[in-house]
Amino acid sequence: MTSQTKTRPASPARGRRFAAFAFLSPGLTYLIVLLLVPLALVLSAAFFRRGRFGGIIYEFTTENFTRLIDPLYLSVLGNSLKIAGITTLLALLIGYPTAYFIAQLPRNWKTIALVAIVLPFWTNFIIRIYAWIMLLSGPGIVNSVLGTQLELLYKDGAIVVGLLYSYLPLMVLPLYAAIERLDPQLREASANLGASAFTTFRKVTLPLTIPGVLTGCLFVFVPSFGNFVIPDLLGGGKSIMVGNLIRTQFLQARDEPFGATLTLALIAVLIVLLMVQSWAARRA
């Protein structure tokens, strides 16, 4: 080899940067133009006043934020956290064993099981929620099969059922990815060294899949927290979540400034959660 072939191309770092930029730019442009810019426009309303007949009066004010700490709105926020939290916990308790089981299947069955998990997404979300109404309503299928008069619909429990049903696949998939990657030899080594199956799970499998657990939890929590369709349809509007509150401000109350303030609060909660997630994932 001559010394010339040893010399590297002019600036590899720059080339890589250029490639990265070229590959990322469609996605970045999309995000900036269609998400960040509109979001910033909507959120900027939080600092202005509502006009007498709706609309925005461009006079700086912080009164929207003072309104936010009203116990009424804090209780709605708390209720949303509670419902989304319960949903996430249940999704984890159901999703982890499911993902674990799928990861142990033979290769062909794995594919079938994963397709079955995402299959519901092929049907429109609203149609699937209406199916739940037909199942759970007073004269619905469950009551007529059991011959009972149970009150199943239009309560918080029904909201959790709907959210859990809708977002469970988002828990299973990242968990499956994390468990599938696990080297089986680690568990064999743990067993050889005398650990019980439970100890192996607690000391080897679980810690190594924590990043997957956190990702799954976030995937379920975020859309549950901001949902407003399911509380409307399955909750019968008898309890409201922050998503409903935001919807009302924009579509009924013509109070964009306060709607934007609520949106800002929602995003702030989610950013805190993202930070907790990435912090926990790094420690794991």
Partner: protein, 376 residues
């Protein structure tokens, strides 16, 4: 307002899209505009020429989907010789307001909005006064339809449809016919958990305000507080809140009594077991109106369009096809009222209802009331 159908989006399958959804749920961008409260209604009406050449004018109309005949634009073009007619759709009064309350020219000539929204547009100085000499068909209206409280004498709006709110119920499932708002606020044992109410703010408050003998337009804090107490107590006996599918809940028997807009109560169902009653304490009178924008450059054509719609043959279409009463005597006289239909309610009965007015700043009290009741 009473068509709060909103697009429910399919939540995307990733967390990032979840965030996007939160933003999407917030509706349109920041193009919304300052709507100065202080702007006084302009008294000066444009000089209009009754013999203007309409073929040099074109019209843009904004209206609810399915609210006017599909062939209307073509017929108007043909019969009025207007150069072009474009129909825009809005799904709620609120989206219409967003379109119309912009500085300068919204491009819209004629808008269909509910009475209290017409009032709000007028008070902002955005409407052209109606020139009655250009709308001879105004004489087809019931005399009552010219004395609506938000716009006595049709100064700036022409009514298109009207109706009221009451109790829609299953005559075969109720043990006693409802007569009072208290029948849904404090339902007897056989109706408990089989009653729905509406959530759209003013109609959430309406049964309680009327049961207490207050005005539907009250802005008194103590009256609203008393209504809230009653509504919170009523909540425990409700099946749920429902603005859109209460008719289906009645048909399935899930509900036996619901608060409903008359046009939405399926009284013409073939089983003939659904009826509608206006409670004895009274109710509201809602009116959907046609207005002409001050910014319109086609005001003669806009008046001609309204005159055209007031023709009994055209106006009767709404009664026959969307089952809403129209305030047009000539049209209603010609309409065949099917058995069980609510089209038979007389204007005099309707006029007992109180029209809902825009309350300006006080309207936030109702938003808060409905949030408080729902969050309880």
């Amino acid at each position: 307002m009473f068509r709060t159908r909103f697009t429910r989006r399919l939540p995307a399958a990733v967390a990032v899209a979840g965030l996007a959804l939160a933003a999407a749920a917030c509706g349109g961008g920041g193009e919304s505009t300052s709507t100065g409260a202080e702007a006084a209604p302009s008294a000066s009406a444009a000089q209009l020429n009754a013999n203007a050449d309409l073929s040099k004018q074109s019209l843009q109309v904004t209206v609810w989907d399915g609210y006017t005949p599909k062939e209307l634009p073509d017929k108007v073009k043909q019969d009025l010789k207007v150069s072009n007619v474009k129909i825009n759709l809005h799904d709620t009064n609120e989206t219409a307001m967003k379109k119309l309350a912009v500085p300068g020219d919204s491009g819209i000539d004629v808008a269909f909005v509910s009475g209290q929204y017409a009032q709000a547009l007028w008070e902002q100085g955005l409407l052209e006064p109606i020139h009655p000499e250009l709308i001879p068909n105004l004489s087809n209206l019931y005399p009552e339809a010219t004395q609506l409280s938000y716009d006595k004498g049709n100064k700036y709006s022409v009514p298109y449809t009207w109706g009221t709110t009451g109790i829609c119920y299953r005559s075969d499932l109720v043990k006693a016919e409802p007569t009072s708002w208290n029948d849904i606020l404090k339902p007897p044992a056989w109706a408990q958990k089989k009653v729905t109410m509406m959530t759209t703010e003013r109609w959430l408050a309406l049964p309680a305000l009327k049961a207490l003998g207050y005005s539907v337009n009250t802005d008194k804090d103590d009256e609203i507080a008393k209504a809230k107490e009653l509504l919170v107590a009523a909540k425990q006996n409700l099946l749920g809140y429902d603005d859109t599918t209460f008719g289906d809940k009645l048909k399935s028997g899930e509900a036996v009594m619901v608060e409903a807009w008359d046009g939405w109560c399926p009284t013409t169902d073939p089983k003939k077991n659904i009826k509608f009653v206006v409670p004895k304490e009274g109710s509201d009178l809602w009116v959907d109106t046609m207005v002409i924008m001050k910014s319109s450059k086609n005001k003669e054509a806009a008046h001609a369009l309204i005159n055209y719609i007031l023709d009994p043959k055209i106006h009767g279409w709404a009664a026959e096809n969307i089952n809403y009463k129209v305030p047009n005597k000539a049209a209603m006289d010609a309409v065949k009222v099917p058995e069980g239909s609510l089209l038979g309610i007389k204007p005099a009965e309707l006029l007992n209802g109180e029209s809902i007015r825009d309350l300006g700043e006080a309207s936030t009290k109702y938003t808060r009331l409905s949030t408080e009741v729902q969050a309880q």
